[in-house]
């Protein structure tokens, strides 16, 4: 039984509401499957540099759900850029761009530098979308903007330190995952910290399935604790579980990356993308003082 006061948990989204069911989103899913098949058949080289070049695309995907709310999109288009639709739409554009570049590239060796062009394209996309979110969203206060930046840089430094220290016990982790491993830990940590700060401190944002389970767990274990104690218990449990997930992923995939580096980097990239997109959405919402 949930006992948290509603003032501390203002915008709880019940998991399961975000289901892709409109005709437009079904077409989007079909297009994503088709472009994935084309990419698989092209077999693009996936290196650490490739995954790092996709980070701007992850950031761009995080801005779209906010624009879907604050801008006046037609109702038929909104599901395509809202929540899960934003991730799929961004992936579709990325896939089309990547596929087109590979088709236009004659020399096999040129494929290895396509990630640089993809990264540059992603930076252009993310710059425009983030700028528009800030312009349209009317940043709340310099404090909230400062907190967003502090969380961003704090978690980045933390992730680098975690993977570095992990190397003392398990040298394969930094050796076979490198910056991509750090990115995975960073993504998961960013998601946890930004979501906790957003919901608990700024009363902004919504729960993921996992964080909702943590709310229920804390409410079961500490039914009579105060609001503040319950928040601290929930946020600490949630943050540490996410960090542990990131670190364990790096440890297990480091082993796998020895044999199959391409697949290993891709898996780590997916873990990083899931964290970074959700975390950046929460950070942007904190920066603009929430959604109307």
């Amino acid at each position: 039984m949930l006992s948290f006061p509603s003032t501390l948990w203002p915008t709880i989204a019940v998991p399961g509401q975000d289901v892709l069911t409109t005709p437009g989103t079904l077409v989007l899913v079909a297009a994503v499957v088709v472009i994935s098949v084309f990419l698989y058949l092209e077999d693009p080289p996936i290196t650490r540099r490739t995954i790092l070049s996709l980070v701007p695309w992850m950031i761009a995907a995080s801005a779209l759900p906010i624009l879907a709310v604050i801008a006046d999109y037609p109702p038929s288009v909104r599901p395509l850029i809202d929540s899960s639709g934003a991730y799929l739409s961004t992936y579709l554009i990325l896939g089309i761009a990547w596929f087109a570049m590979m088709e236009l590239s004659v020399r096999q060796q040129s494929r290895e530098i396509l990630s640089d062009y993809l990264g540059s394209m992603g930076i252009g996309l993310a710059t425009i979308l983030i700028t528009l979110v800030v312009l349209q969203g009317e940043p709340a206060s310099i404090d909230q903007l400062g907190w967003s930046l502090l969380i961003l840089f704090g978690t980045a430094i933390f992730a680098v330190a975690v993977v570095f220290v992990l190397g003392f016990w398990y040298v394969d982790a930094p050796t076979y995952t490198g910056a991509v491993g750090m990115l995975a830990v960073f993504g998961q940590t960013l998601d946890a910290v930004a979501r906790s700060a957003g919901i608990g401190v700024f009363e902004i944002g919504s729960h993921s399935v996992l964080s909702w389970q943590m709310v229920n767990l804390v409410a079961t274990v500490q039914p009579t604790a105060s609001q503040a104690d319950q928040f601290i218990s929930w946020s600490m449990t949630y943050i540490w579980i996410k960090i542990a997930f990131g670190v364990l992923t790096v440890i297990f995939i480091a082993q796998y990356s020895k044999e199959h580096p391409q697949r290993g980097y891709l898996l780590l990239g997916i873990v990083a993308a899931l964290g970074i997109t959700a975390g950046m959405t929460n950070l942007l919402m904190i920066a603009i003082g929430g959604l109307p």
Binding site: L67, R107, S120, L125, T127
Partner: protein
């Protein structure tokens, strides 16, 4: 003979700055297209809000021409993306 972005030993070529810039521009245009409902009121209210109807139409027309021209340059460069 090798072009400037190809190493003489036939190894991995270096990325060209011009192609990086074009990629950035394509990304920006895609971003503007994706966020058009957010861009339109920004231009209408904040950039051209002090103009009358004729001035606003002219300003938006010039802006559209710039965007179309940039788009054509980008498309042309896109076709030049293939290696020479």
């Amino acid at each position: 003979m090798t072009s400037d972005n190809h190493r003489a030993d036939g190894g991995t070529p270096r990325p060209q700055q011009s192609k990086m810039a074009i990629s950035f521009m394509i990304g920006s245009l895609v971003g503007l297209w994706l966020a058009m409902p957010a861009v339109r009121p920004f231009f209408q209210n904040q950039l051209t809000g002090h103009l009358d109807a004729v001035g606003r139409t002219l300003a938006i027309g010039v802006l559209l021409m710039v965007i179309v021209t940039l788009g054509m340059v980008v498309l042309f460069q896109l076709f030049m993306f293939m290696d020479r």
